[in-house]
Amino acid sequence: MILELKNISVGYSKPLVSSVDAEVLEGELVILVGKNGVGKSTLLNALKGIQELKSGTVSLFGKAIVDYSMGELSRNIAVVNTARPVLNGWTVLDVLESTDKSTGKEKSVITEALALCQIEDLKLKEVDVLSDGEFQKVMIARAICQQTPLIILDEPTSFLDVIYREHVLQIFSELKDTFGTTLVLSSHNFAPLLKIASQVWVISHGKMEVMQSDFDYDGIIQRLK
């Protein structure tokens, strides 16, 4: 088991989501869904170890996440989020090289990530001129270069058009099937992701429901309301 959430609640002055229990196995893909503002990003931050829990414990490989040092966390969890930083003069390659050296990254990892995300032709382009869709793929490739067992993605498909989204889907299924990477991601456009998902976590009314199989889109929508 890679991740274990035991009776956790997250939030700020008031808890947003409480008494959450869930388990994630290696190589699973978990989709987190919920309306805007229900606490998806906050819960993801708790899994990244950068959000204090109001109660309960998050364990990574059986060890409480609060007991990990920053360096250890960076070797276990890579993240992708929606922010688009200003990277004056950076090329795509510069971004992919921005991973912790201690993970022992090699040139071959970068080549592999470029190929997997089909962005070899962008390699030497400056990131500031990329489209949002291209940029999102670069950030996914960067997370792959970090070579962690777990990748946590906040809305990775939000800027993507249909074709891009289809392609990102391919990347995800290859990552989990070929590399055994575990993926936890939040998404509003989750319909196409359902066919490769192992679990769907639905947040509504301050609670989280874990769905293990037989995801039907309409059922999830009903729960969200």
Partner: protein
């Protein structure tokens, strides 16, 4: 780059108010006249101050992830300025190492004070542009205080303050070079220590954290270093405008390198060259009068910033 430094150095030595022949020059190096008491300290100060300001501006731009950040924009210089004004206008004497260090202490208190305020605001306000505007406003506020002080001050103190306020690399005080050198070394060591964490920081706080950057101590380290660099320079040379803000962009015009570790050397060297160039222009070797340093730095710096704004429209840089 090293060549450029050597070149600038000799240029400074040649540049003179009084006529000196090349033959005289050699003798002058061995004895201790005008050259050792004025020109060489001024050139060293200019080089060190230029490097310090460039480093401070560059690190602030990284810290705030904003290409328009700089010690003078964020009000840091104004903070030091006000404190120095308090010291000078209260009539403390100029000479001796004690007053020199006292001046530095005052300037540092000012710069750290403003930085602490900015840090407080930036932890509450997520929008970095707002933080910049806040810094600007602080600058104006402190400027207002300063003008009240000036209004109330006596004539002799006023003159010393006004000439300090125009900024100059030429007023040498005891221990000045060592303090400047010390803060430059502190800045360089910090960059070397943080290394690629500075690159990670540019990706955003979330990514930086996920790459093992301790956000709180990282921020604190950069703020302390930037405050020290800008404060020390302000104490000795006055509120120098634009050099800190413009220097990183000037370097990027000919050296595009996103990695902080590689950028460092070129930035420090170019900063030193720019400082000496400005100093050379203020002394106008061809004439006998002296230009105020801030006039020169503004003439050279403002176009760089304008160019930056025009260019950033084209290439999708967001603030």
């Amino acid at each position: 780059m090293v060549l450029a430094v050597v070149l600038f150095y000799t240029e400074i030595r040649f540049g003179s108010i009084k006529m000196t022949n090349a033959d005289f020059w050699n003798r002058f190096t061995e004895n201790d006249p005008v050259l050792w008491a004025f020109r060489i300290p001024a050139a060293c100060t200019a080089a060190l101050a230029g490097a310090c300001l460039g480093l401070s501006g560059w690190l602030l731009q990284t810290l705030f992830r904003n290409p328009l950040a700089g010690p003078s924009i964020l009000g840091i210089t104004s903070g030091s300025s006000l404190m120095v004004a308090l010291v000078l206008l209260a009539g403390f004497s100029f000479s001796g190492i004690f007053s020199s260090l006292g001046l530095v202490a005052a300037a540092l208190i000012g710069s750290f004070g403003v930085l602490a305020l900015i840090l407080l605001v930036s932890s509450r306000v997520k929008q970095l542009a707002t933080v910049l505007i806040f810094g600007l406003m602080i600058g104006y506020l402190l400027g207002a205080f300063q003008s009240i002080l000036i209004d109330a001050a006596g004539k002799s103190e006023l003159k010393s303050f006004v000439s300090w306020g125009l900024a100059s690399f030429g007023n040498y005080r005891d221990g000045q070079l060592w303090v400047l050198l010390g803060s430059l070394v502190l800045g360089v060591l910090t960059v070397l220590k943080l290394g690629s964490k500075l690159d990670f920081w540019l990706l955003g706080e979330d990514y930086a954290r996920s790459l093992g950057v301790n956000v709180k101590s990282f921020r604190m380290a950069l703020l302390v270093v930037c405050g020290a660099l800008a404060g020390v320079v302000t104490a000795y040379c006055g509120p120098v405008a634009f050099l800190g803000l413009a220097m990183p962009h000037a370097v990027r015009m000919f050296y595009k390198e996103p990695h902080h570790l590689k950028f460092l050397t070129v930035l420090v060297l170019t900063g030193a060259c720019a400082g000496m160039l400005c100093e050379l222009i203020t002394r106008m070797p061809w004439s006998s009068s002296v230009l105020p340093l801030n006039a020169v730095t503004s003439f050279l710096g403002a176009p760089v910033v304008i160019w930056l704004l025009v260019k950033s429209r084209k290439s999708k840089i967001r603030f």
